[in-house]
């Protein structure tokens, strides 16, 4: 309760010293506080601030393939126009949007269903939750190899099952086919991360007061009504955060497309991230890749704004100094 509310009265009489401190003296007054943050700050400056600056700088230069950066040549905005005018960029952008949205939507819906079904206490619930979480815990590299083997064009078990069930006449070549590759990768991605949404939403469900459910029951609400009028409003905040986190993670994902297909066939499974990587480390076009990264940066800043807003929601200033 330490901060007085209401009345912002000015001091009554003289004799009050040090009443309004300037920013500099405030920094000096808090100088020891910074010591706690300093190690983190130094590490972050080296590994974050410098790279951001350098990426922006490189985006205005043509870089030599041998990566001797003192030989770079100023080209103004031409890297940006190269990126924005390339037809591959347009294609990859559409794939990125499909990848991000589809993965997010399905992972969220599966997670929501699981959270609701697991909310009720039953024997083996903890074990079930743990099992469902394993794909989220293991490395995406491991997941990629497992699914690459499941999708294998000759000996893949999924193809064999679909033939055995009479769905297809012969095994489908999931990954080496422009029509199916992106969807196939999205399935892997959903497999890997739906349980993240599940855990978040389970925690969110626990914040729904039982009394509200009982009150609604007394008021004559059926299961669906209660879900819609009691559960859903309570899950809004968590859902926002979860969807944002999923979007960010999906937009940033690299391993699954890179390890499983390398963006192929014919760029059909590239997303921005893998595409940038290929331009930089496959074709040594660091200037173009940097411009690409800066564009991605700007998009992410927009995400970032909402992300921070959603995360710091309700994180009011605490009492104390």
């Amino acid at each position: 309760m330490s901060i007085a509310t209401g009345r912002a009265t000015a001091p009554l009489a003289a004799g009050t010293t040090r009443k309004r401190a300037g920013i500099l003296s405030r920094i000096i007054a808090h100088r020891t506080d910074y010591l706690y943050v300093l190690p983190a700050l130094i590490v972050m400056l080296v590994v974050i601030a410098f790279p951001i600056y350098y990426t922006i700088e490189l985006s205005f230069f043509r870089t030599p393939p041998n990566l001797q950066m003192r030989d770079k040549i100023w080209t103004g905005l031409s890297n940006y126009s190269t990126v924005l005018n390339s037809s591959v960029f347009h294609e990859v952008t559409i794939q990125t949007i499909i990848w991000t949205i589809a993965s997010t939507v399905f992972a969220f819906l599966l997670g929501l269903g699981a959270a609701l079904a697991l909310h009720r206490e039953f024997a083996g619930r903890g074990l079930l939750r743990a099992l469902l979480l394993i794909p989220y815990v293991i490395s995406a590299v491991a997941a990629s190899y497992v699914w690459k083997w499941l999708y294998h064009s000759d000996f893949g078990v999924i193809g064999a099952i679909s033939v055995a069930l009479g769905i297809t006449d012969e095994p489908i070549n999931f990954l080496d086919n422009r029509q199916t590759v992106l969807a196939s990768l999205i399935v892997v991605n959903i497999w890997k991360e739906f349980s993240f949404a599940m855990v978040m939403l389970m925690a969110g469900l626990q914040t729904v007061p039982d009394q509200l459910h009982r009150a609604a029951q007394v008021d004559g609400a059926n299961t669906w009504d209660r879900f819609w009028h009691v559960t859903v409003p309570h899950l809004k905040g968590v859902s926002m955060v979860t969807i944002l986190l999923l979007m960010v993670a999906n937009f940033n994902s690299f391993i699954i497309p890179f390890v499983m297909t390398g963006g192929g066939p014919a760029d059909a499974s590239h997303i921005w991230i893998t595409h940038i990587y290929q331009l930089a480390f496959g074709r040594q076009q660091w200037g173009v890749a940097s411009a690409y990264a800066v564009i991605l940066f700007i998009v992410m800043m927009t995400f970032g704004y909402f992300y921070v807003k959603a995360l710091t929601r309700g994180d009011e200033t605490r009492a104390g100094d």
Binding site: M1, S2, A4, T5, G6, P11
Partner: protein, 366 residues
Amino acid sequence: MAEVVLKDVVKNYGNVYAVNNVSFTVEHGEFVALVGPSGCGKTTTLNLIAGLIPMSGGDIAIGDRIVNDLDPKDRDIAMVFQNYALYPNKSVFKNLAFPLQMRKLPKEEIARKVNDAAKLLDITHLLDRKPRELSGGQQQRVALGRALVRDPAVFLMDEPLSNLDAKLRVQMRSEIKRFHHNLNATVVYVTHDQLEAVTMADKMAVMNGGLLQQYDSPANVFAHPVNTFVASFVGSPAMSLIPLDVATQGTETSLRSPEEGWELPLSPMNARKANASSNGKVVLGARHSTLKLHRQAVPGAVPGKVYTVEPTGDVTFAQVFISGAVVNISLDPSVVIAPDEKVWVEFDQERMHLFDGQTTMALQAA
């Protein structure tokens, strides 16, 4: 033991003044209650005395030392917190021993002092428990024990009873009072509950909006509140306050209801007070026990209408609308009245309070 002196103490956060030029002196062995509504600056004041937050201005002295720039640990104080702040991972014994360990006392002496304190507070059987295994009252005792084990110059207590249930609160209230008496300790005690302050303290400091309103003994604060805030904050039920106009005809001064037009003649003493009002308006204050209820009009009584009647057993409270204000009146339980009944209320000229209609300060006879 030591005295505590606050002089022009200020704590501001930008333009918000949590504590605004507060000055008062706590004498040796005195029990002072800092009291006020939530957000009034009382806990901030206590934290400033403790040194837990830096001051923006002014001076604080404990004993003979100015402690403005001293760390809490160097101020020779002990503190009891509202949530007790017992170290949850330490046993009761270790909680009590911690302040002594920090002062690097030898092991045997720590054990002796802890056991003494435990005996005093009757918590010897709890020494091996963890705080979460204790009831609220037991936690409270341990918190007290941790404060007194060190024999500090001043005890600071921040709403130590507010987390207890009503019955336990009354019991602990007398125990703390007894504890103060036995140790002859200097205590600064923060509470939002005026009853606690009135019953326990030698002096009370009433705060509002970061400003010290009145600093005096509970009896004086009760009898002579300096302004309408103090008047309405101290006492239960609160003092009733009726805003009225001053009407003067010749040598006679009376109070007139701006809404209902009736006039209440004043005694010469009260007339002099009313005439000192800065804008011709006063607030009439009266405690429930000083009022008399009549069923018929009598001289010196004003008309009102009963709003509710609350029997409490040995006394019945009636709330009566007078000139738009709600007035509390205590009645003998045998009196039978009903809501909406028309009544007349007689004021005791000796024991009524008059406050300035503008400044809200108590009026003095000119």
